[in-house]
Symmetry: C2
Subunit: 202 residues, 2 copies
Amino acid sequence: MNTLDSPSGLPPKELEPTRQRILEAARAEFAAHGLAGARIDRIARTASASKERLYAYYRHKAELFSAVLELNLIEFARAVAQDAGASLPEFAGALYDHSVAHPEYLRMIDWANLEGRDVINPPLALIEDFHAERVRGVIALQADGSVDASWDPDHLNALVFGIVSCWIHEPAAALAADRAPDADTIAARRASVVRAVERLIG
Amino acid sequence: MNTLDSPSGLPPKELEPTRQRILEAARAEFAAHGLAGARIDRIARTASASKERLYAYYRHKAELFSAVLELNLIEFARAVAQDAGASLPEFAGALYDHSVAHPEYLRMIDWANLEGRDVINPPLALIEDFHAERVRGVIALQADGSVDASWDPDHLNALVFGIVSCWIHEPAAALAADRAPDADTIAARRASVVRAVERLIG
DNA sequence: GTACCAAAACGAACTAGTTCGTTTGGTATA
DNA sequence: TATACCAAACGAACTAGTTCGTTTTGGTAC
C-alpha cells in the first residue's frame, strides 16, 4: 500500500504543497551556499512560506539539508539508471550531459563531501545502494566482454565519475574561466569524456 | 625587488612569526570548514594569537581566506612542478600521492570552487599561470611523441586532474566509506590512476 | 445558505545565542 | 619611547528557532 495514495476513490489530493515549496526552495539555497552559508529566512521567503511552517515540517536546518540531499540522490540515481543500459562511454556522455544541464546535483554532493558527516548525516544506505548498482552494471559489461575485465569495477566506476566531473573541479576551468562555457566548448568536452572512457575500457 | 627579502645585509630575520602562525592556523580552519563555516576566534586561538593581531595583519575573514588560497596554490604548483618532468602517468601518480598526503590542498580548491567568486576573490593570475604551465607540459610530451597528439592538451590536463581526484568526489567513496582507507586500498587506487592515464595517452 | 470546526498557514515579534570586527588597558621588549 | 603583543570585553548585526494571535481553507452538519 502506497502511503502517497489518497484513500478509496477520492481524487489524489495534492500532497502538502507547502512542504514541497519549502523543499524546492531549500534545494536551490543549499546547492548555492551549502549548509553553513544557507539562510533559513531566505529559504522561507523563496518558498513563500513562513518560518513557522518550515519548522513545522523540518526540525533543523540540518534535517532540511538531509532531506534535500536525499531527494537529490534519488533523482540523480534515477537519471543515471536511465542510461545504465548503454555502453560505458555513452553512459559517461549522458552523465556529462546531465551534469551540464543540472549542475546542482554535483554541487550538492560536493557540499555534502566537504561539510562532512559530523554535521549532516547523509543517507548512507541510499548511497551504498546506488553505488552497488553502478558497480553491478560495470561487472555486467565486463562479463559480456565490452569492458576490459582486468579493471577493478569499483575503481572503474570512480574513474568514470572523475572523468565526467573533471571540469567542475579543475581550478582553472572552475575558478578562472567565465561561467557558462559556450555550446561548442561543452560539446568538445563531452567528446573528450566519451573518448577518455573508450580508451579506459579498450 | 622582492618584498619578502629583508633590507640590505641584515640577517634574513624570521619574518613576522605571529602572522605566520595565524596563516597556518587559518589554513587548517578554512580547509576543514570553508569560508562560511570557519570561525575567526578558533583561528586566533589555534594560532596562539589575539584577534587584535589577526585583524592587524588581515582586514577581513575573506582576505585571510584569499591569503590561504594563494599560499596553497603556490605550494601546490611547486609540488606539481617537482614531477612535471616525468611521464604523464607517473606525474598523475605523484599527484595522487600528494593528494593523499595533503588532502587540504584539494579541499581548499573545492571550497573556493563552491563558495564562489562573489565572496572570495581568487588569485586568478596565479591560477591561469599554473594552468598554462601544465598545458605547456602536455604539449611538450605530445611533441616528443610520448602522448597522443590528437588530444586537446587543455582537455587532457583536466582529465588527468579528474582521474587523480576521483575518489575525493565520488559520493560512495567520500561519504559512505570510512575515512582513511588502508594502505593497500591507497596503493591499488594509485595503480589504477596510473593505468588509466597510460590508457589515455596511448 | 448558514453555522461551525479543525487543520494549515500567515506574519510579525521575540529569544537566545553566535559571530565579526573593534577597542581598551596593560605587559614585555628593544 | 615605540612596537608587538595579549586578554578581555564590547557593539552591532545576524541567525536559528519559538511563540502567538489572526486568517484562510476545506469539509461537515443543520
